[in-house]
Symmetry: C2
Subunit: 191 residues, 2 copies
DNA sequence: TTTCGATGTCAACGCTTGTTGGCCTACAGT
DNA sequence: ACTGTAGGCCAACAAGCGTTGACATCGAAA
């Protein structure tokens, strides 16, 4: 039941090459400047193949932006190390897979990409941190605050490339940002 | 000496209308989807006028993205209220002027806009917070961390519009985010 | 060996884009 | 009243875009 398409088609390699090239281009150029022609050239096939396999540019992006945050089970983490765990995980996930960068860049100008970003954080981050924290702030608000810091870090480090943020080592970033996330998850606001 | 162009030209109103329309479009659509034709239509003039007055689309954007953060003199702020002051100021600045949103959206896909964003934070934010904090972290790093949280807040609230971040009131945001900035400016990292 | 669907190429379509140059019009200086 | 210039519009350009359909080729089933 796990594989609905039992035998591999001969075109699977082509499909994969298209996806790989698409992720690269979307991550580097954003949605509108990443052209189907350029993606096809990278994958060494004709632009019309992209249309055949993915229907449209939107369809290609939807396939290329499929992403799993792979968040660990936070219930198994010592409660006072939640922030550290999250920063470390996101940094690793970001540097190892350019899909998130593609989604981030595209979300600025493409409505569909922004919607995907919202779903990603609602379905994966918000549910992962559900149950943490008490008091006046809802779990959703805590997840939103975490998202604001995580995405801001990614935006300044990988998109705008602010020099001081780029220069900091992952360990520096963990040391500084972990307490922020920790407080957003388990702390209280001032006043 | 304050006004180098003593008498107002008759075209100044048109120039201003173009700039206003450009800021709106760049903020709403980003750099590539905001077309000169659409901007000209909003300003009720011919597209060729945009070229005459601003030379090119890049030139128009450069003029439209001119921005002053208008940061207050932080030396005059009680040292333990730096974070609160900054969050409040940025929130007000953001909601009152769409230029920053235009710059933020465009910075994701346009190299020139990203460069402008870097200059903005280097020249205005980094210099405003210069001198705060001691210890192993340089002032530039502290400014970069502040930028990551401020831009992340703007990105999630005004660009991606993550529901929990949009729903929070400005006062809620101040209460939660102020301690973060306070620590980035005057605190120490964990470990 | 023939057949037929899957795989891939080619050329073109209709459209939009930034940009340009020519032309008309109104108004300020004489 | 005349004239020069600044302000504005119109039409068109070359280029690039996503997308389409017709045609070639390969590989496996018959």
């Amino acid at each position: 039941m796990t594989d609905t398409a039992p035998r591999a088609r001969r075109s699977d390699a082509t499909r994969a090459a298209i996806l790989r090239a698409a992720r690269e281009r979307f991550a580097a150029d954003g949605y509108e400047r990443a052209t189907i022609r350029a993606i096809a050239a990278d994958a060494r096939i004709d632009p019309s193949m992209v249309m055949r396999y993915y229907g449209s540019k939107e369809g290609l992006f939807a396939a290329a932006a499929e992403f799993d945050l792979r968040l660990p089970d936070l219930a198994a983490v010592p409660p006072d190390r939640l922030g550290e765990t999250l920063v470390r995980h996101f940094l690793a996930r970001w540097e190892g897979d350019e899909t998130l960068a593609a989604l981030l860049r595209a979300a600025s100008t493409n409505a569909g990409a922004a919607e995907r970003m919202r779903l990603l954080f609602a379905n994966q981050l918000a549910t992962a941190v559900a149950g943490f924290g008490t008091g006046p702030a809802s779990t959703a608000h805590r997840a939103g605050l975490v998202a604001s810091q995580i995405l801001g870090l990614a935006f300044t480090r990988y998109i705008v490339r602010l020099p001081p943020v780029v220069e900091m080592t992952p360990e520096d970033l963990v040391d500084w940002v972990a307490p922020t996330l920790q407080r957003y998850l388990t702390g209280r606001p001032s006043r």
